[in-house]
């Protein structure tokens, strides 16, 4: 190689002066725009700038990519790009035994796995017309509420982390670790529990779980309150969250919001009360709501929900009946042809499964409904006109989990 053409030298060599810029990746797609909306989005005006947040970004809660059109620091428009975590779970479930699909549910919602298993087993129980033992229902509620507390604690910690606070995430993780350890004592795993079975749960409560739970419940309330006291009254935190991402109740209902995000807008809709399932009608708890509908309301509502969950756990422990924890079922399940829909109230909203059986041992159609996906679609309403930092606030307060969104 005797060429002296400097363009042949390595582009990474800082001594080489380049005539043309290499490695410049245009954010504008090479294909002609497919819709009018896309054409409008990718026509960059004067003083505007397209910037990629993600797929690998500290504040995207997973592998999400958001293309933002900025004017200075102000967000003009934005376009969430999904699918970086798509595994085709629904199709996998349609090629699996009914029992095996429960294992596929866990990674959908990896911080609150039980709430994805729950609607699946409920749908199958409807298909099979199985009576679940009452003790199993109480255990489901007990573990589910524990999981809700751990998920909310994590959401509040990550909310603070996205705003730049380093400490609350670790305080949250200390409490979450306690819950996860006690759930591991009965389920065998710390994260992907795979605990619910068709017609009950896999294994009764054991001594280690009960001792850990009693130990934790004795100090849970004050510990949680001390931890949230670090930020919930902090002026900087309050000012960054107040009046950011305000959602009015009508739009929230139209955008199919559910869960804490909807209740923070003032709509007291909770599936545990609206469409009662399991043993929730026998339990005494409130549905906290807030009027403001902004990021701060969504943050504070999660704290209220944690307190209600602790109430439910306490009642479950006192009302827990004796008996079997798993209904007697054949190993190979062949439900009659039919269809079933089951929904539960998870920490992020309504998790629902729609399952169709054609009489074989595999579901004919299996549809997963995830609330985070529906919350994510309202970015376009909440964020434009605000600053980049407000996108992090809104994203953290909506608390999406990408495993369920991309399925």
């Amino acid at each position: 190689m005797t060429t002296t053409d400097h363009r042949r030298a390595s582009a990474d060599d800082p001594r080489v002066m380049l005539d043309e810029q290499v490695g410049v990746f245009e954010p504008i797609p090479p294909y002609p725009p497919r819709t009018e909306r896309e054409a409008e989005f990718y026509s960059v005006g004067d003083g505007e700038l397209l910037i990629n947040i993600g797929p690998h970004h500290p504040a995207t809660h997973g592998v999400m990519r958001v293309v933002m059109k900025l004017n200075g620091e102000t967000i003009v428009d934005l376009d969430p790009v999904l699918g970086y975590l798509h595994r085709g779970v629904e199709k996998l479930c349609e090629n699996a035994d009914f029992h095996q699909t429960i294992a596929y549910m866990d990674p959908l919602e990896y911080v609150s796995s039980l709430f994805c298993e729950w609607p699946a087993v409920m749908a199958y129980e409807k298909l099979l017309d199985v009576e679940v033992p009452r003790r199993a229902e109480y255990i489901r509620v007990l573990t589910g509420e524990l999981n809700r507390v751990s998920s909310h604690l994590l959401a509040m910690g990550f909310h603070a982390l996205d705003l730049g606070g380093l400490t609350p995430i670790l305080y949250s993780f200390i409490e979450r670790d306690e819950i996860v350890e006690m759930l591991a004592a009965i389920t065998g795993q710390r994260m992907l529990f795979n605990y619910f079975r068709i017609g009950g749960v896999n294994g009764d409560l054991n001594h280690e779980f009960m001792s850990r739970l009693g130990d934790w419940m004795s100090r849970a309330t004050e510990q949680v309150e001390a931890n949230v006291g670090l930020l919930s009254e902090n002026e900087i935190f309050v000012r960054r969250n107040r009046d950011i991402g305000v959602m009015d109740p009508e739009t929230a209902i139209k955008m199919c919001w559910t869960g804490p995000n909807l209740r923070a807008s003032g709509v007291p809709f909770d599936i545990r009360r609206a469409h009662p399932y399991s043993v929730y009608p026998e339990l005494d708890f409130d549905i906290p709501t807030r009027k403001e509908g902004d990021s701060l309301a969504r943050y504070l509502l999660r704290i209220d929900e944690v307190k209600q969950s602790l109430r439910i756990i306490d009642q479950c422990l006192h009302q827990m009946p004796d008996g079997p924890v798993l209904a007697k079922l054949p190993r190979l399940l062949r439900p009659r042809p039919g269809r079933a829909f089951a929904a539960v109230e998870g920490p992020r909203g309504e998790y629902a499964i729609y399952a169709v059986s054609d009489g074989t041992d595999q579901p004919f159609r299996f549809r997963i409904h995830d609330p985070s996906f529906l919350h994510l679609q309202s970015f376009g309403r909440l964020v434009p006109g605000k600053l980049i930092a407000d996108w992090m606030t809104v994203n953290a307060s909506l608390d999406p989990i990408m495993g369920g969104i991309d399925k």
């Binding site: 800082p14 290499v22 700038l49 910037i51 500290p58 620091e73 400490t167």
Partner: protein, 462 residues
Amino acid sequence: MTAVARAWGRLTLPGKVVFTLVPILAVLTASLIALIVLFGGAALDILNANLGVVRFVAAATVILVITIPIAFLNIYLEMKIIALMNLRVGPDRVGPWGTALSVVHGLKVLMKEDFTPSGADSVVFTWAPVVTYAAAVLTLVVLPFAPGLYAQDFNIGLLFFFAMGGLGVVGLLMGGWASFNKYSLLGGLRSAAQIISYEIPLTLSVVGLLILAGTMSLNTIVVQQDGWFANWYVFRQPLAFVIFFIAATAEANRTPFDLTEADSEIVAGFATEYSGMRFGFFFFAEYVNVFILSALTVVLFLGGWNAPFEIDPLLDWIGGILPGLGITTPVTIALDPGGLGLPLLFLLLLVPPLGTLLFAAPFFLLRSSMRWWVALIIGFLLFNVVAGGLVMAWAYVSFEAVAGLLWFLGKTFFFVFVFVWMRGTLPRVRIDQLMGFAWKWLLPASLLNLFVTALAVVVVGS
């Protein structure tokens, strides 16, 4: 010839190195001695004639060198203190309590690939960390550490400090612009806007103090604050102190004003594309800045090297009490050390073993299960601690500079702790809140402070 080659071949690699180096070193040493003998006197004369220049060069070298341990110490403190506040243990593997971890981080940064992204303006990209670091180091020149322990005493010292401190933003802006990255660009522009906005309240808050002090020389300002802690300017300018500390936090890019490197928004801001030692220089400059701004706060408002109390009245008071307790004459030593001559050296040599035995004796006598050598080791360590403490106490009492340096570093590292404490607690503010706070609150407050001070000086003065 072959014999020499065979002998050479038998040598090991260290042997070869030694055989090569020893003659070279011998020649060099001999020539150096000859040079000193021949021209040493003349060189000394030249150095004596330009003592000011020599002093400045020496001080500048020392300042450049001490920034590195200061940065390492600050990095370690940040890691450890935030960890402890997070209920973690923090660094505890490298060195005692993990103290060597920041040094290891420095070595790691040195060994990493120094990468320049394609499309970056490589000249500006390379010089940006240098500018930032140089600005941080230059501000140290005017800081008085202790009586007589400062590089240069300008009569415009404070002005020089602010000028050089403002230069740091040029480096950040250069880095943000040259990185060819949108995150970096946003970070660079944010830092420019932020630091220019906060320079104004930072400077204006000090003007009231300057009216009182009547000078810009930091050395003189510290000297004015000696005596009891009531003389410190923080009690005469409390509002200015608060404004100054808030603005200094923003000036050092620390939480809650660390928008230039907001990791959850614009991933690391101006430093996104930097790696290796260039990133290390940015990092070092930040921690040196933390130290420098803490030190300036101490110098301006908390009396610099002055102790919070005067030790002489205290000693006089104790001297007044002693006769009442029955102690009338001070203990005098009958032995005249000067008269001993050479035996004094032997006496001094005897002190460590005797001290060791003295401190080891109680352990050996009281705990029969203890081995004699364990007792000796404990005695030796105890002797060293006590002797070191005595030497430090003697130095503290005898040398003003040592006492001043201890007080100065103690106060400064308290403020470093406060900076880290804030980082461990607070979230980050938003850019519009940041700018609004500077222009709507800090600037009027500092103007008010200036007004009130000037009014008070005029009223009291007339």
